[in-house]
């Protein structure tokens, strides 16, 4: 992989992208784009606002990270998300070239890295089929060509409100709305209409998770823990503290490997945390009404 000299990467607003080493490759492009637009969010808060949590099966696949995350995050933040999928390679390359030149919201494309395939911000077009992208793995600008660009995968542009100088809504309002939405979503998962697409039966999901859950999935659950910590702080309620500590300890114990009992405990604790949060929000709402 050819690594370019580090340079200031700008978007239409002539702002530099900050590449945060601590952000996982999955969230790096989103984090970087939001930072460039003046919105500094921790990965845990990004996870919370986009309702990253998931525990279901679709088409025989275990889904432990929200499959509509980017869409949900954009909706939550008031971002207009453009998403495209091209069947023809040439249409893809033409579209990326054209939209990179417009230089407002940079295209975000899927790129293959030795560690996996991740969404990456295109920050320059070298030639028709070669781009400079911000690598979410190296946290640097790298040049990628046809061999690494997944041109059949969806690609995106995140258009922030007030594109010249982004203006986002009040953060605490966004968090409150996100918490309410997360709880409504959990209710939705138990409905017959949802089950037309997803399998959410706890026993079946547990059975699948025992077979397929990976260490990476456990690692991702740390984001859920972080999101719940944000929720606890936001709600100024300590009733979740004990369960949160138990959850954190359980996650630590699963880092090197795990068994059926631990996965079961993990899911049960997640339900407990959600229920706890629901109670706190209900009390808060009752207090407000009275």
């Amino acid at each position: 992989m050819e690594k370019l000299e580090k340079k200031i990467v700008t978007n239409g607003m002539k702002k530099a992208y900050e590449l945060n080493e601590k952000v996982s490759p999955e969230l790096s492009a989103i984090h970087t784009k939001l930072w460039a637009d003046g919105l500094e969010l921790s990965p845990e808060l990004i996870y919370l606002l986009g309702d990253g949590y998931s525990r279901k099966i679709a088409d025989d696949r275990l889904i432990l990270f929200n499959d509509t995350f980017l869409n949900d995050l954009s909706g939550s933040l008031g971002i207009y998300l453009e998403d495209y999928e091209e069947n023809s390679e040439e249409s893809f390359y033409q579209a990326i070239k054209k939209n990179s030149a417009i230089n407002i919201a940079p295209p975000m494309i899927s790129v293959e890295y030795p560690e996996g395939e991740y969404l990456s911000i295109v920050c320059g077009v070298f030639d028709d089929h070669t781009y400079n992208v911000i690598s979410p793995v190296d946290k640097d600008v790298v040049r990628v060509d046809k061999t690494r660009v997944a041109c059949r995968k969806p690609w995106y542009m995140m258009n922030s409100p007030r594109f010249i100088k982004p203006v986002f809504r009040d953060r605490s309002q966004l968090i409150k709305e996100a918490l309410l939405r997360i709880l409504k979503r959990r209710d939705l998962e138990n409905t017959s209409v949802y089950r037309k697409i997803y399998e959410t039966d706890s026993d079946k999901v547990l059975e699948k998770a025992v077979l397929e859950m990976s260490r990476k999935d456990v690692e991702d659950r740390k984001l859920f823990y972080g999101a719940m910590m944000i929720a606890e702080e936001f709600l100024e309620d300590e009733s979740l503290k004990e369960s949160l500590e138990e959850y954190r300890n359980l996650l630590s114990s699963m880092e090197e490997g795990f068994d059926t009992t631990q996965i079961k405990q993990l899911f049960e604790l997640e339900d407990k945390l959600m229920d706890g949060m629901r109670e706190v929000l209900k009390e808060e709402s009752a207090e407000y009404d009275s």
Binding site: G78, P161, D187
Partner: protein, 336 residues
């Protein structure tokens, strides 16, 4: 296979997207009017754009992402996709239909004869963002619900595929589809939901994601409009006037239609929220409806004049007043 249960929630409506939202929310048990759907989808907006290769300006009175906004406030889930491959796009929507879920499709309305006939437009108007609700299909035909028709319409699949992937529209539909998965209504208090929807709408209107959109777009339009009379030859001016009046009153959301509905939404919302500022805003939007309608009528009349436009001053004055009133309306809502 037709998802018959959705036909009983469908009725004729004012606008394609909000009619679909009403059908889908009613099917999930929500007692929402079309106006309520517009409000909960934070749908009020303004767009003023000129697309490459098109001789007229394009206007809408709506925001982007109505379905996304609606799903967000109700705690639902939106599944969506698009493709430039017609067959792949067709098989994707069949996947959901086969599971009992209707699918929202975006199409170029000019490619569907039943719409061309009904609208009876004098000029070609390839609008690629018209929404239909697909509720069934068989080997040759698709069955869709459309806002101006009471009953399901049978459309040959090949024709629907062409409309879904039309290359003639300035904004191509690109085979876009959306599936809304909504929680069932359990009689919950909607106060917070309503407030969130209003706040989101105010933010989107005041801080649009693109140039010439939202309140800024309207301000730019009212500034530029007076120059149109000197910059455009009469014929082009009249084409623009004709398209504007069509977009404002006949086929679009611009101007009157969505202002009337938003005013109605605020009235309905205020039965729950009881806030003086909302009542004030509701009356402003009702007034905006009448003023936009009047402006649109003037444009339509002028589009047919043979020699020159005589009411230039009134038109310029009218759009200036509209901008001031729009500003007043959104500022009243900013306190919610």
């Amino acid at each position: 296979m037709i998802l018959d249960e959705y036909t009983k929630y469908h009725g004729v409506g004012s606008h394609c997207a909000t009619t679909i939202l009403r059908t889908l929310t009613n099917a999930a048990g929500y007692p929402f009017s079309e106006a309520m759907c517009l409000g909960l989808a934070s749908g009020l907006g303004f767009t003023y754009q000129k697309y490459v290769g098109v001789e007229y300006y394009f206007f809408t009175g709506r925001n982007e992402c109505l379905e996304e906004n609606m799903v967000n406030v109700l705690g639902g889930k939106l599944l969506k996709g698009n493709s430039d491959d017609n067959d792949k796009a067709w098989s994707e929507v069949c996947y959901y239909l086969d599971r009992g879920l209707p699918v929202i499709l975006e199409v170029d309305m000019m490619k569907l004869p039943y719409i061309r006939e009904k609208l009876n437009l004098k000029r070609e108007f390839h609008f690629g963002l018209h929404s239909l609700l697909l509720i069934g299909y068989d080997e040759e035909n698709a069955y869709v619900l459309d806002y101006m028709w009471w009953k399901p319409i049978q459309v040959p699949i090949w024709q629907l595929k062409e409309a879904r992937n039309s290359m003639d529209a300035p904004i191509r539909p690109h085979n876009r589809w959306k599936v809304m998965v909504l929680p069932e209504y359990n009689g919950e208090d909607l106060s917070e939901t309503l407030k969130t929807a209003i706040r989101v709408n105010v933010h989107k209107y005041k801080e649009p994601y693109a140039f010439k959109m939202g309140l800024d777009g309207l301000r730019i339009f009212q500034n530029e409009f007076s120059n149109w009379f000197t910059k455009m030859p009469l014929e082009r001016l009249q084409t623009n006037f004709y398209m504007m009046s069509a977009l404002f009153e006949k086929v679009g959301t611009g101007g009157g239609n969505f202002r009337r509905m938003y005013g109605q939404f605020l009235d309905e919302a205020n039965k729950i929220l009881v806030m003086p500022k909302i009542a004030e805003a509701a009356s402003i939007y009702t007034k905006l409806y009448r003023n936009w309608k009047q402006y649109s009528k003037m444009l339509e009349n002028d589009s047919e004049k043979e020699f020159e436009i005589e009411d230039k001053e009134q038109l310029v004055e009218c759009i200036r007043n509209l901008y001031s009133l729009e500003l007043e309306g959104v500022n009243a809502l900013a306190t919610v």
